[in-house]
């Protein structure tokens, strides 16, 4: 059991109809004016936009709109939001949408109280010492952004996809109403499921000290994702399955599965971020392409964890069978499991490897282990038929 700190101050309000409480929640906290951040038209289609506006007005909360957040949120739009937040002197950010909207909301919360270019925080040149309080209503369970301090933004000019993380960017309150996810299409559900699994297995497989209690919690999350995803794909209107998945995805990245692990790294996310930046594929799809390949490449470096995974999750006896079973699950739910599945030509492997190496690997200090040559080895394993 390695030394750790755990601190997650986000309050979760979970349940049917819970989004109607947003105005009341803000009022209770003394918030008077918010920047209302959202994505495309979907929140208007399902009536959520109207519900939120009504709740804000009923509680006397002023709001400035900042719609149009992209699925992979971009720096230019974030900067527009920061400008609005400053111009209208809002006292909080209200983000309504999926992980992308929540992430952009956090980045705006940081930039709104800072005089420097917000990208400097992503480049690790500045430390986040404050942010506006941010509140969220989640419409797509996947990233866990509703209960952590992380935000991932893409700089379109430099093609870098980078993250920040701070205690100051944890949402103050996140409202999770599973009813809002009943219309999430099966393809996005599949990506969301991959993402939630990815969040917990990164440290599980790369730890040098791996405490049993954290392993058990990780396995609980993975088992729940597999169980709920199957139930959702069978019946998208299954409220309980949607609800259990939603909370499971939150648990997957709210820090509770990590204590005591030593040396964990987000290696699959590192490669997936480059695929996302280069090909504009959904994050979960990038992960399902990378994970089986990386697992195969890494399995002998931490054999006991890979054997444990095969046994606990699938009741199988070898690491190789465990990896194949996970790949099969990804495939069954409709997630891509090879570069070809993602429409990425094998001739791009060099380009991808260099992109990973020169961006995230260097920034995260993983360039010593993950050289372009090693990254190419992993990417070759992501070609169809290399792990069957």
């Amino acid at each position: 059991m390695y030394d750790f700190e755990f601190h997650n101050p986000t309050k979760i309000i979970f349940g049917k109809g819970s989004h109607h409480k947003i105005g009341e929640v803000l009022k209770k906290d003394g918030v008077k004016k918010v920047l209302f951040v959202y994505g495309q038209s979907s929140i208007k289609k399902i009536g959520l936009y109207d519900d939120v506006v009504k709740s804000l007005i009923d509680n006397g909360i002023e709001f400035i709109e900042h719609g149009g957040v992209k699925p992979n949120p971009v720096l230019s739009h974030t900067k527009e939001g920061i400008e609005k937040a400053k111009r209208y002197k809002v006292d909080a950010i209200l983000s309504v949408g999926g992980g992308s909207v929540l992430d952009e909301g956090k980045a705006i919360a940081v930039g709104a109280v800072s005089d420097v270019d917000v990208w400097e925080y992503f480049l690790g040149k500045r430390e986040i010492t404050k942010a506006l309080p941010n509140y969220t209503i989640l419409t797509l369970a996947a990233t866990g952004s509703e209960m952590n301090g992380y935000a991932v933004i893409t700089n379109e000019e430099t093609q870098e996809k980078l993250s920040i993380g701070s205690i100051h960017t944890f949402p103050k309150v996140s409202i999770l109403n599973p009813e809002l996810t009943l219309t999430v299409p099966t393809s996005y559900q599949a990506y969301a499921s991959v993402d939630a699994i990815a969040h917990v297995i990164e440290w599980y497989f790369t730890c040098s000290v791996c405490p049993n209690i954290s392993n058990l919690l990780v396995e609980s999350v993975v088992k729940s994702v597999i169980d709920t995803t199957k139930r959702i794909l069978k019946n998208p209107q299954d409220y309980d399955a949607r609800a259990e998945f939603m909370w499971t995805a939150t648990l997957a990245l709210n820090g509770i599965t990590r204590p005591g692990y030593k040396d964990g790294v987000y290696i699959n996310h590192m490669i997936a971020h480059s695929l996302g930046a280069l090909y504009d594929l959904p994050h979960g799809a990038c992960l399902s392409i990378v994970i089986p390949a990386w697992m195969w490449w890494y399995k002998d470096k931490n054999p006991s964890q890979f054997e444990r995974f095969a046994r606990q999750i699938f009741g199988l006896s070898s690491k190789e069978e465990g990896i194949k079973a996970l790949k099969k699950f990804f495939k069954e739910i409709g997630a891509p499991v090879s570069l070809q599945d993602g429409g990425i030509p094998s001739s791009d492997i060099d380009k991808i490897a260099n992109h990973v190496y020169n961006t995230t690997a260097k920034i995260w200090g993983l360039d010593k282990i993950y050289t372009p040559e090693k990254l190419k080895e992993i990417l070759y394993l992501a070609l169809r038929s290399n792990i069957e």
Copy 2:
């Protein structure tokens, strides 16, 4: 999945030597004067008292001592602490010890900013709307008090053992150094293990809606308690086992295993509180006497959860086998599993049943279900040989 709210703002600092950070932590939060709450001489014997005092002095924190907290903390001593906190105008409470010390610290934190008799909060006559911030250093993992808002105090005059719970009484920071638990005797470890299991199984067995993800988390906690307890009893100096147990006991009652359950009640705690109040037995010992009896009495009221427990925890196929296996585990680790084991005469069953009914059952609103007759049925099952 039933609607829920989750909010746990406590920061955990976990690891070797971590208690030396207390002065620094308080200073960073702007605390200038604390009431230093502790129990008997044990923190002095292990050098912890000196370490804490040094860290406080080094960081310019004034402190007023309030030692002598009893294993089942009592109201009169709590009131003395409240008086000191008011007289010396402390800005925070620092509790150093096991769950009893932490509980008394929380009750003092409530009373110190209130003009009414603190017992009124325990009787449910007043709502807690504020409290002094409380900080803790834990020396005995068991109650989970280090990461929740609960406190249990015994009123010696009325022989009532009651609890409070509030968002305002969550510790601001709790420091968990597993090294401090290396000297915990095996008997106390056994009680602690029973307590941690009790915290998670109450809702698990009494839920009317029982989501898979929460069931998986509960089972993770129980598995970890069984695993670590065996390792600790085999080798009390096993740091990793002590550390994993310590964090597991925190998880058992920090709220993370409860979301989505409907209708859970702390029925075993209810009965155990009366045994504690009447016989001054350790809380864990009261629980290990009650739990197998109550499980046997209740098993057919929620058969799927009892079957699941047997299968997931012990790999057994019937509810009855699961209960017997848990009773056997309690016995093996040295916890009492019958009234006789606890030195309680069977002729006291009427008295105990009436005590439970007239105190906690009424206050918790469980007197409709748990009438004196039903309570007697359960207590009869706690006689030796009634469940073998």
